[in-house]
Subunit: 255 residues, 2 copies
């Protein structure tokens, strides 16, 4: 009676731990210095990153502002991309849609990608001393899961959210990852349990679920006519790329 | 196509808005200055508060430390209560269980109650200029819902969580409140949608759900043998009291 929690911990001692941070404002609660941090920004940054690397992009440099994107783009003569209110931002060349980066366009090139929530979170993980940083999305979920299981290290699933407000799609992705790999980890984290529960209640049709509950980002992107992007970003395993952050760039760890 | 979000906002213009803050670390994202803030600390602070006021406590003074509890208790000659690791804290008289405050004991008395997460959050709401602060728990859920609907003001459901980490029981309560009153509010908040979804997946038996997913607080309190407290704190409408925070004290707004 007295030792339910203690026993559980004891039983799982040999497994690495897994936590879910549902907002960048909560990331500091988790010890990332001994963990792989998975940056999750499903709509659409990390989906586009997985897709562009899958299609042969050499590297992707995530930046948090249009000005920085323009500066680096000029400096290294790279493709610049980013949006404001659903349109290519002034001074940049391309947008944030995964459909803009087919193989015939992106192969062998470097992309400087403006993303606000995802890049901010990535830099937080970096500054907090994360052992390793990768990005995850439905597009490359199995590549992410296989990597996490194989590494046998602690994991923090870090949702980019929206200006620190919890969002449904990033939490859904965390939940799907947990549903796939939970047997390999010791999970004593209510946020992870909630994410997995959310995923199971939405699993039969993620798009329909997002529409039904009028997820804030679903409503926002729909208002720009981007339903096709949303549908793609909620589709599992269109890519096998594993974006690994190293020396300020994302590269495909599986080539 | 372009105006789904805009139309929705337009349609709901006449209703007050409702948001859910799943952790004190996210409270600053919401404008509490025009809102009723509901402090939620289901296991066990706000359940005990509702119960003690229901049983006739004159006022309850929530404090965030044992030292402060002792100081105020002496100063006004009140009952002092608080726990550390499942036992009455040294220097205090009673614990945090709702069962310690029956009518024959608490009626007409003032209780100084030590709660860490809940009091911290309450003071944050106060410092952020909350229009009104009440506390909520399953014990008095209908009193809370009736008050919120009647007031026709914006609402922030504020979960006390556990050292800023999201917890299941407070989110479940927020979800149950939303399921009851959502037609009276405009809700454009993913955290609220997630809380309601969580509640629906757990609604048939909240206790069994908490046990099944091994909610962290469930495990912790169970390890102290406090299953009876957990069961009580997950039971709806054992009280009709509405704890309202005013001048540093919680009083029963419905008498």
């Amino acid at each position: 009676m007295h030792n339910i929690a203690a026993n559980r911990t004891f039983m799982d001692t040999n497994k690495p731990v897994l936590f879910t941070s549902v907002s960048p404002a909560l990331l500091h609660l988790y010890d990332v210095s001994q963990s792989i941090v998975v940056i999750i920004d499903v709509l659409r940054a990390t989906s586009t990153i997985a897709t562009a690397l899958e299609n042969g992009a050499k590297t992707i440099i995530p930046v948090d502002s249009v000005a920085e994107c323009i500066r680096i783009g000029k400096q290294i003569n790279a493709i610049t991309a980013g949006e404001r209110d659903g349109k290519v931002a002034e001074g940049l060349q391309y947008g944030n849609s995964p459909f803009e980066y087919p193989k015939e366009f992106i192969e062998g090139k470097t992309l400087v990608l403006t993303t606000t929530n995802g890049t901010k979170l990535l830099h937080m993980a970096l500054n907090n001393g994360a052992k390793e940083i990768i990005t995850g999305s439905f597009a490359n979920i199995d590549a992410v899961c296989n990597h996490l299981v194989g590494k046998k290290m602690n994991v923090v699933l870090a949702c980019a959210a929206w200006k620190d407000r919890v969002n449904i799609e990033d939490t859904l992705f965390a939940g799907m990852v947990i549903s796939k790999i939970k047997n390999h980890f010791s999970i004593n984290c209510d946020a992870s349990q909630m994410a997995e529960g959310l995923y199971h209640s939405a699993a039969t049709d993620l798009y329909a679920y997002m529409e039904k509950v009028n997820a804030s980002h679903f409503a926002r992107l729909s208002s720009f006519g981007l339903q096709k992007d949303i549908r793609f970003c909620l589709t599992a395993n269109t890519a096998s790329a594993l974006p690994l952050y190293t020396d300020g760039k994302l590269i495909n760890h599986i080539v």
